[in-house]
Symmetry: T
Subunit: 151 residues, 12 copies
């Protein structure tokens, strides 16, 4: 019997405030609501999923490092770290796992400094602008990426 | 009985060469193969889909204009036009239909001039880097966007 | 009996959507309404006027080329092409007809990329920000330019 | 009986030298000649017009400030101030009167620093490149702007 | 008996319009109201204060020059001059009096050209964004600066 | 009986070294000395104040997050984080509490990279260059901000 | 008997005006004259040559696409498209035929925006500044490139 | 008997403070001392000289304008205006008198914004860095320029 | 008997992955291997050495702060933090210990963003590109720096 | 009997290493081989040719200077000097001989700093990317340039 | 009897062509003519002068180095080297002799790359735009500089 | 018996002035002193070393070229050439010998133009900021590089 692929979803700084923070931009769902939706969709897609959130760059770096051997794919919404954390970039490049960059909002409609991601060049692909559905699309993408690796 | 949502997939310049052109970047599937996969997935997702390709900016502009009233959602891989066609941007902004920007390759791993899209700020969201699967994810996104409008 | 000067008004991409497209920026008049107003004013000013619209850069280039010998003055609202079409610029420079650049909206109140025109340096003058009245002012300017050449 | 709209024409630094200064760029008319032409056209258009010239930024600022309640529309050729006087910009923004930016020469054919205006974003529209006729066109524009407010 | 420190408050161009000009940004108090509040607070803080306003760069330069020997501290809201008047900067550097830069609005929330001050490097400190209270805080700062010099 | 407003003062990285570190720039007071002065002034102003210091971006982010409901106003000297921590910026924007940016030194007299703050656009106002007195002025500003909200 | 190599010469927008347009820059020969000279030289060099001109970017893209299997080498003077048409660049990169970029004038003596070519990095080499002789040199270059492939 | 050439020396903003202002940069001579030295040297060189100083841009503009017909040559130390006053530049260009730009200090050893002069392109030549002797050298230059015109 | 100088070697984020991460760039030695080589060389050079690694910016800042009084010299490979952590820079500047910046790879052969170090201006010197030998060279440099201070 | 035109071919720094240096970029021919090919082709074209190489900018400058009166045309591959030697540019501009800029490799496929030539604006034309054949094409161009002058 | 000050005049690359090269910019005098004028003026001013010219950067560097102890002042027209030779700059900074930068033409009226001098920050002052008279003015400046040092 | 590796140390322009030139930056040792120290250390490390200095770019280029076959490793302090000599860069890239870039001073504490080296990307590694000890460290690095190649 085949083992289900394991996917780790990493939420970055201030995403723990979802539902409270600027609902005009981020919607009214809490992070818990979102994680429930992610888990639900993952189940339908035959994926094991775990969700973590951190406001600490170092913790994000180590979460990525420790994913090796335990997860088959990363889905990462690095939030503010997207735009300057070369440490997170280096971690993603180092572990060499399939990885998907996700954003809730369309970052190209916001401040100019949010248009540039230091992570994009070291992930497989990016999905941005679909609200919580960005994560669900990323799970679909994970199926295609991890499936590709497994067959 | 509810009408299926209609989705228009627009492929930009040189995508008619897919399968021949730089397979290291774009894969070996032809545009026909891709359109078949798109149609197949659309059926599964309960969408009506039509696929067009053009190498002419003016045709792309008019294709977008004429989508009003005939399609519920646009999926657009504008290829080279992504990076300079303000005319295509203005068309997307003018018709005000849900729209999803798609790229086969991860444009952030390529030449620097491909990192900037003039379209991103006027679409709902972007999906890039998953090869042909980028289109399938966009169909999923379309379901959520058009569904969101219909419920 | 003196021949009336002939003026060609060229409308660029997406201006065929006027009245539908972003009325907050462009007003509620359709292109037809505008052309009627232009024709009406031209008559009062003793000008023959013809109005064309195109979404195709190549067509705009050739419309300009073919104006030589048939028109005495060009009035051009190149819309999106204003900002990147060096082909349109070269056509204007090549035909060497009196030419007036027109914009409906005040482009300096909009996105930064709309502040720069590749055409301005090869026309006689520019008029921008007065809505449909921009065209009427351009007709007045044409009278002064073409009259200046004819006396 | 309806009161005629009052228009104030403001000429900026060094325009008092017109006719003497670089006639290849600015023509051979003196400022007096131009003001006479402006007054003549204003009469035909049913406008009351007053023309002032100053070489002092502070005087231009106060002229704009004091126009409130006395004039219905401003026509301003700020000359050199166009390119750096944020004080003039702030004055125009503060008084919130209809305002039209005018240039005699086509500033886009001249030195690069003349291509940028700090005023354009706070006026209704701009007219540039038609020599003395730029002012006459601005009077026409004023009719449309002030008329729009009066009807 | 100790002499009270003398403080000169200098208001720059267009601040004479306060209360009328863009109240969404600057509030509804007139300059007179503000000067009254400044005087009231100065009295409480044991300061002699004088308030002047000018729309003329040259007058501002000379006001700063002539403060030497008559005032112990300058509080300056240079308004538009903040962003380009090197003459005002040179005057501040030349007189070498304690000086405090003040802004009513948070200039970092406004147009990008307002984010840069040519004065900041030659004053003791800056206070910005607290409306009329910016001046009151500057008076407090003056107490600490002039007191520091006097003890 | 009215509750005193609660103010949280957040000191950023390396400020725990105050008194030792580059006294030419930062003065000879230790952070403890400064906190005592802050507390003393807060008492005089009728404010409850708490002071925290951290060298960890993640801790600063969470300190800001957890201020909601416990403090009425934030005073933040983010030190080095001022110039690059978008995570801190996002936290400030998310909690939507009145916030005041403070700097001991005049950052405009120092290295060019210190002239730019990523935080300024999301706080109410900034105070910089008055040494320890910058904090006292910020307490005064807090009185005006929090008082403004309470009356 | 060996087949002669086939070379396609592609002339870009506004080159159909040659002989009329800015003869100071482009000379007095018409495009027909030039094509005759090209054909004459090609015969001497043992090449089959065909010459096409288009003002339409999309037509140029498709002309390049359809050259595969029909021509052994491309000579392209993309005129204005040189400076912005990434679609033409992508077509050249996709067909992977030997290609030579040609310019009549020395583009480095003209406006700064003409100094940059988006095509140069995807052709074999460039020849510019020799008037009609640029094409003859390109034919010589074609002999060396195609000969190199045939031996 | 030949008329002596007339030279006008124009000192810009804050130069009235010479001797007091930053003597490390500008020396200890007052403007009066300098003018005396200038007059003394002018006499030796057979020149009539007049010296004026102003802190007002508008006055400097008009001083330049009114020099026509009264002076044969201008020597101008525009001080701060050097770096931004396009109005002064336009005045110099308009009067078309021989003109010499002078600076006391070596502006290339100072802040970067002082390295750029908006005036240099419209004067005959520049002399900078020799303290008061810069003016004496300019008088010598004037002899050669005005003499050159007279012989 | 003289005390041996104490040297602290600080390894930055993701260096704990050495040997696993991109061996083409960083070699196959693990961090443990490298620390053993460092210790071995330090012994030969008469140095006491301690090696620490952290993925947390805040920990690196505090490690530097706490080195005062316990170490005579710092050797720091800040990895990703090299390029943006002003907090680490401020810590190095504050403790004012001899410090040596080290890189395993030649950062000038890698992505452009790795060419710039925010730390270089506050250390004594930099050594980069010699793999693990970069650390050994830094120990030699430490001998010269600390010896220089001690003799 | 007509004198053959004399052409001087100037090879710049490090071209004496051809055949050894980076054959992937420059091919396996030595400079001697190339000079033989050049001489052979020159003979066929009825040209006298001389070839020189230098690694010294000053020697290149003087070689260009001394070509006046001795050569009818220059062919120059300035190698590294292409990108920064304004002295070589000035020499080319000063001698005012027909001159052709040549590059072996396609400089637009290499490092970005090689995309810009300080020489292009002062030569007749440029030929780049055809390996040794670039020189042969330049000889052909020389025939057309010098022939044009001689007929 | 007092020794006359010794002045070395250094002419840079291509100045040996003066009189032949672009007389519209540089005049018709040969370098020999200019040196004679310099010597003549130096005699009148009580200076010993020697004039050298070189096209070689290394020779210019060594000429500057060897001036120490033999000359009291340098007058340098570095021509093209002005704009990029940091080696010449370092030589001037190292010898620490009074030095005057000279240009024949007004470099601010020429190509933009000629507006920037790498030498200006390490000389005493600059004189530019007065043709051969620039050197005579520099001799005058030398008198003031060397006299200043000797008294 | 094994041959000792041969190392060539190349000193660039103005380093012959060491000990005289700006001792605050470069120390008081002469170049001779430094070469003696280098030779002494080389002997201890089992290296044959030769030291050369040149102020001529062309000589440096040829010194590098001629090192092939005679030296096993280059140590280069290119001084001013570091920042612009692409000819030196090309020579280093062409000879493909192990090479080490050295600087006496910490170039990152000096003028901004000294922060960028055109050489770094073509050497093995760089060492900067340790005064004469930079060379000794480079000798150590050479041992590791040449040893690495020989085993």
């Amino acid at each position: 019997m085949e083992k289900k692929p394991h996917v780790l979803v990493i939420h970055g700084p201030n995403l723990n405030l979802l539902g409270q923070r600027e609902p005009g931009i981020y919607g009214t769902l809490t992070l818990n609501d979102i994680n429930n939706k992610i888990t639900h969709s993952a189940n339908l897609l035959g994926l094991n999923v775990e969700c973590v959130q951190t406001n600490h760059e170092g913790v994000m770096v180590e979460t990525i490092q420790q994913a090796v051997g335990r997860y088959d794919c990363l889905i990462i919404n690095a939030a503010a770290f997207t735009h300057y954390s070369i440490a997170v970039r280096d971690a993603l490049a180092a572990v060499n796992l399939p990885a998907i960059e996700v954003h809730l909002s369309n970052i190209y409609k916001r401040e100019e400094f949010r248009h540039y991601s230091v992570l994009s060049a070291v992930v497989n692909g990016t999905i941005c602008g679909f609200g919580v559905h960005s994560y669900i699309l990323a799970l679909n993408a994970a199926v295609s990426l991890v499936g590709g690796d497994r067959e």
